[in-house]
Amino acid sequence: MANFDINKVRADFPVLTQKVYNKPLVYFDNGATTQKPLQVIEVVNRYHSELNSSIHRGVHFLSDQVTNAYENAREKIRAFINAEKASEIIFTSGTTMSINLIAFSFGDKYVHKDDEIIISEMEHHANIVPWQMLRDRKQSKLKIIPFDDQGILQIDKLPGLITDKTKLVAVTHISNTLGTVNPIKEIIRIAHAAGVPVLIDAAQSIQHTPIDVQDLDCDFLVFSGHKAYGPTGIGILYGKEKFLEAMPPYQGGGDMVDVVTFEKTTYNVIPFKFEAGTTNYIGAIGLAAALDYISSLGIESISSYESEISRYATEQLDALGEITIYGRAPEKSCILCFLIDGVHMADAGMVFDKLGVAVRVGSHCAQPVWQHYGIDGTLRVSLSMYNTKEEIDYLCQAVHQVKSMFS
């Protein structure tokens, strides 16, 4: 860990220095959203105060500057995930919009009655509901790859689920509840062997682990800016050119058109075909700054530090006893869902809050995961590169306090 200076990293995040209820803030809700480093805050500030102008439209100085910055951001995102072309990077509002765009547009073109989409049992609602809506529109089917009680995806079941009616496999890279890191390369290999394209939900992985879309050979990959130290309201849809070219536009409006007459409209080329209306260009520029920040620290260093604190957190919680951790996959990210035996999650969460510890309580937008275990939900500690072992020790003290109050 010689090259990862945690104190320097923490100093980049102004939010972390504050107190809540007179206690130092311990922010463990990074799976929901991450805090923003000064490097992102300053860029977003600068664009709002000095360089704001609508992109692709004006011929004037400011518009030109911002348009360049926006397209540079696209190029940075391309490089970050090693896409072949910048035109394969679509700016959206986030992971949810990216998946909805694919479900509507890809679904419209390729999915018909009795066709099948395969997802997994551990998906976030954002990778379930759009496919159910598609199913209801097209009378298609939804099939599920199950996970076992350890939280390991049973990918040996995948070949049996794929038929000649299967049009897409859409799975999460890292579960937002179980923390499982799924073997997406293998999933893609299996699906491609049957000629089925694959969508990867990278909302919980882009900030934690290196991603190379050409090496993976995934057909679509989606993620959100705000979970990767960037601004809210910006997200990415990566798609292979051959699909993006073939797919119809998702929304109509400005900038996505070529020629508009009342009789007929022809569409702009990709990526603009999928970017109707005034996009969140400052968000896009802010996201590029966030990815620059990640790169400056090194995603490998971040990943290795996060594995260390995640292992520590698991060991410490296990050592406390009377705690049930959900998700014990050997390949696991820094997400820990757990319950304190005999204590309701809502009670524990409220006490944690007043001790300054921010965790998430509930189903974490993945109700089918908890249906698997027959519970309503859990507490969730989702760690990030700025969390420390001291904070985990403090969490353990908070667990003690909760136990003394409720059991």
Partner: protein, 144 residues
Amino acid sequence: MVATIQEVQKDIIDEFVVFDDWMDRYNYLIELSNGLPEIDPKLKNNEYLIRGCQSKVWLNAEYADGKIRYTADSDAIITKGIIALLIRVLSNRTPQEIINTKLEFIDTIGLRQNLSPTRANGLLSMIKQMKLYAIAYDAKEKKN
């Protein structure tokens, strides 16, 4: 003489004023949860359930002698403690009293967070449900 709703709310505010630590406030709510009269176990079913994302609440209302008597329960203890306060304020009142009451005490004692509109714990829905019962019984009374 029975205390008015306003008097009961003021009593509760006075009880909580002494706590300067959140854990004391929560410990008091835990104590209050133990004193909440039990809801008929037969009523703890989906018909009486108000589902929150984090915890569940069950609520029943009975009308007799011009007054509404509420019974309720929750699977989470702090929520149950807040329910005990709501019942102390609103139960055994006339529909008109319940309809016209502004529940100020929750805000004043610092528990507003528990009334988030994101249906986290079902409490906001529970208060709405309590008022709906009052409106329904009031309408029924006027008809008779």
